[in-house]
Symmetry: C2
Subunit: 360 residues, 2 copies
């Protein structure tokens, strides 16, 4: 059991991207110091952290220094190598738990875990070689998506297989690695729940968010999602079940497909703060970043109520050219990540436009 | 004329206390880098800034490095030595202008400036030696406060002289330095206006705040202040006049005494972000810190509207013991400054409690 960390304690963060940067900022507001592990000395999070350890995520010596100098360790992305992290966990509390990483890192493990605790997903089959695809296609019937089991993100490592067409070379095009075939399910909208759980089992969820992706990357999140109260409540209940079964500590993002009949299928879970939760910085008193820091530091969770409705837009690549116009909008909070180069597909920042009148 | 700074530019900040820390955080959100000059390598702002130059505020070499490495320079406190700063201003834009520092650093200059542009203050007399006090007391009639002209803050460097009593030793007790005798004016409440002005003359003011001091230190700020719309509008108009006459760029804090008849007397002006503006972080989309960064970086000002009413409380010295309780309050945003030692009278953090229903 982590007792609550006093101000001045150090939170180690593995990964120094924009999520780590916003975590570092939230940690500082609560009086914590931050220590970031990242290969890049000028990464977004290092610019705000108290200190940086420059190293790769499987560098045992770097991880050892991180464990030594931190009072608790967390991470900002789900592809942290698990084995090296166990040595850290042997010395310091690591939140969220390594079990959550193991589940989130492998789409087959993830789906099996979810189905095993009674949570619906799209139908799926594990596919370890091209020959298995035919059998799986027969089972699943209809259009499918072949995805690598590991290391996919933002739509990378995926290919659609249209029913009845050839899939020659598709398996190889994804690198010839173990994969999962998922049935394409019809859905009306995509939503996500950003929730937090403490070690003592307290739970709080922000209202479900409606998400629109473009080229596989989150483009826009709208709060509230256009779903009924029952759908929203079921989505939150599913997120709660997931966190309880994982003994989860921290913020989690759970993505859903919503069917026309209100059916909820979990698409994936992210054991970390989540892009579709960035709006909480602008529309809530306590952001997802502070909520995560509170949870991993053993502090009580904040309220997840919001004071405004809002729409969050990601600024990807050349979208940063819109910054001057966004700065002229009233009620828009702009956040940039301190990245020097605006490459195509690179997340450079986000903007949350508030609309009033929720009147909580 | 400062053209607008592109993301990635560096903002130099003289002074690394909590105000510099919150400025650094706001600058990072807008994609700027920050460089802080402070004598203490572990000062609150250095913990969040990209870089620190360790040095005193009159260290010519340190200031030269600051000017060299910054695209624009600002400061977080009004007692920055003016002469060394001129060398910086010769190389880089310094905002707010040095003229504002000169006015704010000397209570006699400040009062003379204000009265000279038609703004009322408490009656006052300059007092350079103890003999002048008698004459000044006769002029001002009634209880007075003797204050050092320079370097007073948080109630330091002040002594009350009750009408008819002796003032022997009082002048000497303040260090025997040039002083000002101010008449104690009856007032119903203290308010402040936090306003911002850009180089091109755009102006925006947050709603007036009502302030309560304890032992000379700001204890609590309530928004909105319990004054009529006419009083609020006059206070904002006075703040605007001050910024225009100073060619001001950045955020300014203007403190007022409000008489029972609604008379407004300016108590003092602070050419910087202001403790009584901390609530803006919690109750507005754009905080005073972002507003200041926008102004000094040549970006358009944000909206100064607030989405909630609120009360901000300073956490001074042992008040930090209330942190666990404050973390349990819904709708309270807590901000700690990263100071290791909670000495008596030291500002350790603040908490803003929101109340809804303003419904802008």
């Amino acid at each position: 059991m982590t007792s609550s960390l006093p101000p001045g304690s150090t939170i180690g963060i593995i990964g120094g991207g924009q999520l780590g940067r916003m975590l570092a900022s939230a940690a500082a507001r609560l009086g914590f110091r931050t220590l970031v592990l990242d290969p890049d000395a000028d990464c977004p999070a290092a610019q705000l952290a108290n200190e940086l350890i420059q190293g790769t995520y499987d560098d045992a010596a770097a991880l050892d220094r991180l464990a030594e100098a931190s009072d608790v360790v967390t991470y900002e992305f789900e592809n942290v190598p698990v084995e090296p992290l166990r040595a850290v966990a042997a010395r310091r509390s690591v939140h969220p738990p390594i079990e959550a990483l193991e589940v989130a890192q492998d789409r087959v493990v993830e789906k099996a875990f979810l189905n095993g605790i009674g949570i619906q997903t799209a139908p799926w089959r594990a596919v370890d070689d091209p020959q298995e695809i035919d059998h799986a296609l027969l089972d699943l019937r209809g259009d499918c998506i072949l995805k690598t089991r590991r290391l996919g993100y933002d739509g990378k490592g995926q290919a659609t297989i249209v029913a009845g067409s050839t899939h020659e070379g598709v398996f190889e095009s994804l690198g010839g690695v173990p994969a999962i075939l998922e049935k394409k399910v019809p859905f009306e909208r995509e939503i996500s729940v950003i929730a937090a759980r403490t070690e003592s089992g307290d739970f709080a969820a922000f209202d479900p968010v409606e998400n629109v992706h473009r080229m596989g990357i989150l483009s826009r999140s709208t709060v509230p999602a256009a779903v009924g109260e029952d759908v929203a409540a079921r989505a939150v209940a599913i997120a709660r079940t997931i966190t309880e079964r994982l003994g989860y500590v921290g913020v989690i993002g759970v993505e859903f497909f919503v069917g026309t009949d209100g059916t909820l299928l979990v698409n994936e879970i992210a054991p970390r703060v989540h892009n579709s939760g960035h709006w909480t910085e602008a529309a809530c008193t306590i952001s997802q970043f502070e909520q995560h820091i509170r949870a991993v530091a053993g502090l009580p969770l904040g309220s997840a109520e919001r004071h405004s409705d809002c729409v969050m837009e990601n600024l990807i690549g050349s979208d940063v050219e819109r910054v001057p116009a966004l700065l002229r909008e009233a009620d828009t909070l702009l956040t940039l990540y301190g990245k020097r180069e605006a490459r195509a597909g690179r997340k450079m920042g986000h903007a949350t436009r508030l609309s009033r009148g929720r009147g909580v």
